[in-house]
Symmetry: C2
Subunit: 103 residues, 2 copies
DNA sequence: TTGATACATCAATAATTCTTGATATATACT
DNA sequence: AGTATATATCAAGAATTATTGATGTATCAA
């Protein structure tokens, strides 16, 4: 089983993480699933702003969502983070283009 | 010995990596030290553009430079990448704020 | 010391991304 | 049906980042 990602996927993940508000959101989600309203309370940020950043994160595959009634719950997709971690490892070791796990 | 980084450092590294030209540069450097002229040849990009992106990478601590005569050689700083890798691992495991290596 | 090479930096513009306030949509409650 | 809540989306503007071509600076070679 591969944890590899293409560079474009990696760039999407990196861009998604590389923003303070999104990072705050992600850190919050790392303790468990949250709805937008939870995130609003925790961060004190405007709803449209949070939704904007959640969308970026979701499109990058860093989080997933599930609707339940009026609420939408967001959750980290740790597989994406694991892939990214592995991608950085390969980058660092100069074996990004090799299929195998490297070294 | 810690490989930990503060969030701001991590964001700098992430931003630096999250750009196609910079990633191309980094991939090239992952096979060894290069001068700007090498990078120009390999990528076919304008010199000012390459210097611009090298500066971003350097300020983020992702690469280091050394001058030799008329040339400036750039090299990956794999320690920064290792730190970033570890930071992502911690983020994924929800233990970013714990001192220890986690799990 | 003149000319060429390697690179950095700058100013102007272009492109991208983020913020804000408003409006839209869907669900649930009464 | 009517109202309130949770969230998404949108359009306009603000802010940040990238590109381009030009110029500056240091080093070397003739």
């Amino acid at each position: 089983m591969s944890t590899g990602v293409a560079n474009e996927k990696a760039i999407d993940s990196l861009k998604a993480l590389a923003e303070p508000i999104r990072l705050e959101i992600i850190e919050s989600l790392s303790t468990g699933e949250k709805c937008v309203c939870d995130l609003m309370q925790e961060t004190g940020l405007a709803q449209s702003k949070i939704s904007f950043h959640l969308k970026v994160l979701k499109e990058a595959g860093v989080i997933t969502d599930r609707q339940s009634g009026r609420w939408v719950y967001y959750q980290l997709d740790t597989r994406t983070l694991k892939s990214l971690q592995n991608w950085i490892k390969k980058l660092r070791k100069g074996c990004l283009n090799e299929a195998a796990s490297c070294e």
